[in-house]
Symmetry: C2
Subunit: 221 residues, 2 copies
DNA sequence: AATAAGATGTTGCAATTGCAACAGGGAGTT
DNA sequence: AACTCCCTGTTGCAATTGCAACATCTTATT
């Protein structure tokens, strides 16, 4: 388990907990490691689980089928990422999604009940891991909320304004460098790339903003 | 405080905790009640806080200004609702939103640190309130995730299919009654109402689904 | 330097969508 | 019954957007 401690120290669930403390915690949480081969199913939609998964190595896809049976890739996770935490923490036992290994993968399974119940040893790291669990959920919430607000807008221009408003706030400045290229930005905003380019051009022509590559300056009072 | 116990018992944060236990918990959490007049600002964007608010009575709007200074109403909350929990739980001290009372309002302020730290009395309800806090965040997450998936679709038809797929899953049946009228559904999907009607008509004509008012039947294998 | 592969900008065109205006229907009130 | 209010469906029209095809530019690799 020693080789896992590097991964876990960087995992959001174990932030601020020392390696030695982590290994004690894992014992106390009765964590179980399991390996999966490429293309193996880690969790099937409809399965019951009260376990939260931590990706020790490899990578998986989170998949959901729609009404017409089309497979929809919701996310692709790598080392250190959590999965199944959302519905397990919500007290929903049946998984709404499938999880499939796309490489040979190792997963550390944690029992949610063991995380939130104080253990017999009443170890001090429990408080920290609970705090981290809450933080993980809350941050995901903020991310989703932000994206939701943006996607709620009807036009590309409004979506862009929403996104740039966020950036401006995070950078505390009217000038900032965005972390997306055009293709990625179009994906994030869920619009056509060429239409995005077109709209950016218009907005610059109208004097609302300036940009060179990923460096933006917005002109507002 | 006795008159608050009815509200709090129904509040998601105190679910499963008895009235007597709640009042003990409030003491131990050092909860503070505060009243606000209509139009008074409860929390201003940019303010620091490590408190979570519970609406005891009245109602508030969550407001955020965009780059052009336009005020955007993100939500309207009523009795029993929580606010500020997302960013406080994420460890973000500065509020990204403003909260304004739109009626005379009473708020119960809870210190987040007191919630997650075990109290000197090591009272048993702490575990429960933490579990509830996690559940609240996780459920909001699921809601936002679902909506996000739907809003990510490019066409009205795809958005409808996404929404109806969710309904079908929740009801475990191809026939179900949706909780939205047309106007509300259009708002939820962030599309034009008349365009929504038009698309529903087309889909019915193509034999994909049938509906009478809010009763839907989807035709899939 | 040459080449390849991927990202970005541009533009015409067709399809979708939003908007506006209007008509019909249901629920509640007087 | 007459009236009002609100929700829903319909349709023409204009604007926006997605799509496709292509040119240009960047970056990495050999």
């Amino acid at each position: 388990m020693a080789d896992n401690s590097i991964v876990l120290k960087a995992c959001s669930l174990f932030l601020g907990i020392k390696s030695l403390e982590i290994s004690m915690l894992l014992t106390c949480l009765q964590a179980r490691e399991k390996a999966y081969l490429k293309n193996e199913i880690v969790l099937l939609a409809g399965d019951k689980t009260s376990m939260i998964g931590v990706l020790l190595s490899g990578s998986v896809q989170i998949i959901k089928e729609d009404m017409l049976g089309r497979k929809n890739i919701l996310a692709e996770l790598t080392q250190g990422d959590l999965f199944a935490e959302t519905f397990v923490c919500a007290g929903i036992e049946v998984s709404p999604v499938s999880v499939v290994a796309i490489k040979d993968t190792r997963v550390l399974w944690l029992n949610y009940q063991h995380i939130i119940s104080s253990c017999p040893n009443s170890c001090a790291y429990h408080t920290k891991i609970i705090e981290n669990m809450i933080s993980v959920l809350a941050r995901k919430n903020i991310f989703l909320n932000t994206k939701n607000t943006i996607l709620s807008k009807h036009s590309i221009r409004e979506k862009l304004l929403g996104y740039l408003t966020e950036c401006r706030e995070n950078f505390h400045s009217n000038s900032f460098t965005i972390p997306f290229g055009r293709t990625e930005l179009a994906d994030y905003l869920c619009v056509d790339r060429s239409a995005l380019s077109r709209e950016l051009g218009k907005m610059q022509a109208e004097g609302m903003l300036d940009y060179v590559k990923n460096d933006f300056t917005v002109h507002v009072k």
